[in-house]
Structure formats: C-alpha cells, structure tokens
C-alpha cells in the first residue's frame, strides 16, 4: 500500500488543483482507501496547516475539503489586489470632458476640430469611466454620435446639475471660432458607393 505521507501529499495536490470543495469519497477512491481513513487524513492535514499558522488553511464543508486563505490575512490580500495608485485624468481627457460638458450634445468631429486633434481614444476612456455617454445620433449628414456628460460626472465634480457649471468668460469666442469649423465637419460624410 502506498504510504500515508504520499497519500496526504497527493491530497494536497488534489485540493490545490480542484479549487472547489473536494469530496472525501472521490479522493478515497483514487487510493482505494476506505472513506474513514481518507477523512482522517484530511483532518490531519487540516490540523497541520492550522498548527503551523500557514497562510492557507483547509476548510471542511459538508464532508468535503477545500483550501482557502487564512482569514487574518485578508487585509494584506486586499492591499495586493488594490494598487495604491490614484489614477488621475490626463490633460487631454480633461479637455475633452470640458468641451463635452459645455457643448453637449456634441459630436466627435466637433470635439476634434476644437482641439485640432483626434480624440477617439480619449472618448473611449471617458465612456469607460462613465463620465460621458452617447446621447443618440445627430440628424446631420452621416448621423454622427452625440456625446454628453453623465450623472457620474456631476457627482465626481460635485455638481447638482449641469446648471452648476461655472460660466466661462471666453467660451463665447471659442464657440465663434467653431462656427467656421463646423462647416468643415460636414465633410465627414459617410460615403456609400452602391448608390449607382
């Protein structure tokens, strides 16, 4: 017969790969052990992990056993899983967010033309962070998507409503400039060649 030490070692390997609670019966069958012996081996293992204060312990659930982490170590695991870094919004993300906040509903092309640079990535990022949202589609040519801010935006910046957005003196000028650019935007039509 295979010696007890080897069986216990195999039980550990099995618990490890199994993940879920491992039925004593399934484990016993592999070694042609009787149920009681297998159960005792698991209990011995459990006592060993407990006695040595290991970071993994064996939990018994309904005549099954499972490896789990030691409760006391939770705080360290949490620290490992939550990187301390506070992600801040980048300058470009803030710019795009500001434009959307003040000009909503606004299309990507309008934002691009105000900033003079493509902002697809930034918009994607802001949507992921739930700060902006697609409001629908413009009725203009190409039916571009319209963007606006979300309530997460209001919450995170401490606004009760969009009316709380401070008035920005120069914003009029900017909007002026855009008029001209708006016309250009219309060139972004979606072309369909099967028209003929």
């Amino acid at each position: 017969m295979i010696n007890k030490k080897i069986i216990k070692s195999a039980f550990e390997s099995m618990l490890f790969v199994w993940g879920d609670p491992l039925d004593v019966k399934s484990a016993a069958e592999i070694f042609n052990l009787n149920w009681k012996d297998a159960y005792d081996y698991f209990k011995e293992l459990q006592a060993e992990y407990e006695k040595e204060g290991r970071g993994i312990v064996i939990r018994e659930v309904n005549k099954s056993f499972q490896f789990v982490t030691r409760y006391e170590n939770n705080e360290y695991i949490e620290k490992l899983c939550t990187p301390v870094k506070e992600k801040k919004l980048s300058q470009s993300a803030l710019e795009v967010l500001a434009i959307i906040a003040y000009k909503q509903p606004v299309t990507k092309v309008e934002i691009d033309s105000i900033r003079g640079i493509k902002c697809d990535r930034v918009i994607e990022g802001l949507i992921k962070k739930d700060l902006i949202i697609e409001l629908g589609r413009s009725t203009g040519i190409g039916r571009p998507i319209l963007y606006g801010t979300t309530s997460t935006f209001l919450k995170n910046f401490g606004f009760e409503s969009l009316n709380d957005l401070p008035h920005i003196e120069d914003i009029g000028n900017v909007m002026h400039v855009e008029q001209e650019l708006d016309d250009l935007d219309n060139q972004q039509i979606s072309i369909n060649f099967d028209g003929q």
Binding site: F16, V17, C81, L94, K129, P166, S190, N192, Q196
Partner: protein
C-alpha cells in the same frame, strides 16, 4: 486511388541533410559530398513525386551541395602552401554542427517541457472580492477642470490670433449642404439632366472646391438623387439626374438641406 505514404517530415534542409549523413554513417568531418548530394536530390525527387511541397530552401541547399561537389572535383592546384587550401566542405560542416547543436537543445527543451507539463498551477482567484472599490479611483476636482479648460482656451485664442493675421487662407468655407444645393441649382438653371463634373466647379476652383464638389457628388449618389458614371480611369465623370423632380427628395425627411431654395 492514391496511396498516402508516410514520409519523415524534415524541419528544413539541414534536418534532411543531417538525417542522410547519419543514416549512411558518415563522419561529419569527412562528408562524401557526391554520395550525399545524390541522396539528397533523390530524396527531394521522392518528396516531389509524392506531392509534398518542397520549399525553395531545400533547393538552395541542393545548389550549395552541387557547388561543393564540383569544387571537390576540380584538380587541386599544387601551391607552395598546400595545406592552406581550404576544404570546400568546411563551411558546410560548421553549419551542420551549429544546426545539430540547436537540434539537441530543442530535444532538451522538449524533455523539460514534458516534465513541467506534469506540474500544475491553479488559476488566479476571483480578486474582485478583495477589491471593494472600482479599479480606478478618479480624483476629480472642479478647479482642475476649470484650470485645464482655461489653459486650453488661451491656447485656442492664440491660434485664432495667428489665423487672423493670415487672412489669405480661406475666408469662407462652403458647406457640403450648400454645395449640393449649388449643384442642384446648376442642373436647374441649365435645364439639363446630364452634366460633366467639370461644369459643376465654380470658376475660381481650387483643390478645396474640387474636393468639396466631389464629396457633394458622392453624397448625392448616396442619396440616390444622381447617377455618376466614368467610362475610364481618370476619365470624365458624368452626372445625370435620377429624377428631375427635385421636390421628391426635398420631401424625404432623411435628407436635410440647409438654407432655402
């Protein structure tokens, strides 16, 4: 009925060459080039006969072998330093040895891989239970947003000032809608159903005008108000009104034409 013959698959020409040398129990340091060359060519012929795709790499080595073989056949010129004459096989031998070295390294890795495949990892636990907070914590401040926007506005203003000095750029950009209108107007005024692309261009045409007109044309094709045709590459584009009842598409709510006409 075709019979599939199982043939050793070789990883490359060197693999085949090494196999042949080993099979005929030759010493790598004294390769019988003419014997090995004919075996090598034979093998390739057999592969071809069996419809096995013989890569050009195999032919490159074949050429090398033939070249060495012919060099070996040349009578050795007796020079004063006879020993210094290089054996034409030297480079080939070095390359074979280099290849064999890595082939055994590959065998070694295979052995290691086999062993390590019997060691099991376990998947990462679901870590979301340990992270109560979202992945990213956004620290957002109103002052930051305003500051950022002000910087941006200042930049913008500066660009505008510069633009004002350079008035000669484009004063008025015509929108696509107005160009479509313009085109429709031409059709109407000239009372024609067919026009050439050139005829649609304003007199002071420049690149912008051409592009805009072209875009307008494409949009009109898309809206199915005109048909555009071109008989040859770079040839004349002919536009014909699909329906000279302009009202028809004016009523279509999906087509929004700016201005009044």
């Amino acid at each position: 009925m075709t019979y599939k013959v199982k043939l050793d698959v070789f990883e490359g020409p060197f693999d085949l060459l090494v196999f042949l040398i080993e099979k005929s129990e030759m010493s790598i340091y004294d390769i019988k080039v003419s014997k090995i060359t004919s075996q090598y060519l034979d093998y390739i012929d057999r592969m071809k006969a069996m419809d096995i795709n013989v890569g050009s790499e195999f032919m490159v080595l074949a050429a090398t072998l033939i070249e060495i073989k012919s060099k070996m056949l040349l009578p050795k010129l007796k020079t004063k330093e006879e020993d210094a004459i290089e054996d034409p096989r030297t480079e080939l031998v070095e390359r074979i040895l280099e290849y064999k070295r890595f082939k055994s390294a590959a065998m070694f890795l295979e052995h290691k891989e086999l062993y390590n495949k019997k060691i099991f990892e376990k998947p990462k636990e679901d870590l979301s239970v340990y992270t109560n907070e979202p992945d990213e914590f956004l620290s957002l401040e109103l002052s930051q947003l305003i500051k950022c926007f002000n910087i941006f506005l200042a930049k913008k203003k500066k660009v505008e000032e510069i633009k004002n000095y350079c008035e000669n750029v484009e004063r008025q950009k015509v929108s696509l809608e107005s160009r479509i209108e313009y085109i429709n107007n031409i059709f109407k005024v000239r009372n024609k159903h067919i026009l050439n692309f050139q005829e649609l261009l304003p007199s002071d045409n420049n690149k912008y005008e051409v592009v805009l007109t072209f875009s307008a044309m494409l949009e009109m094709v898309r809206q199915k108000t005109i048909i555009a045709s071109q008989t040859s590459n770079f040839g004349m584009i002919t536009l014909s009104l699909k329906n000279n009842l302009k009202e028809d598409y004016m009523e279509d709510p999906s087509v929004k034409l700016g201005g009044s006409n």
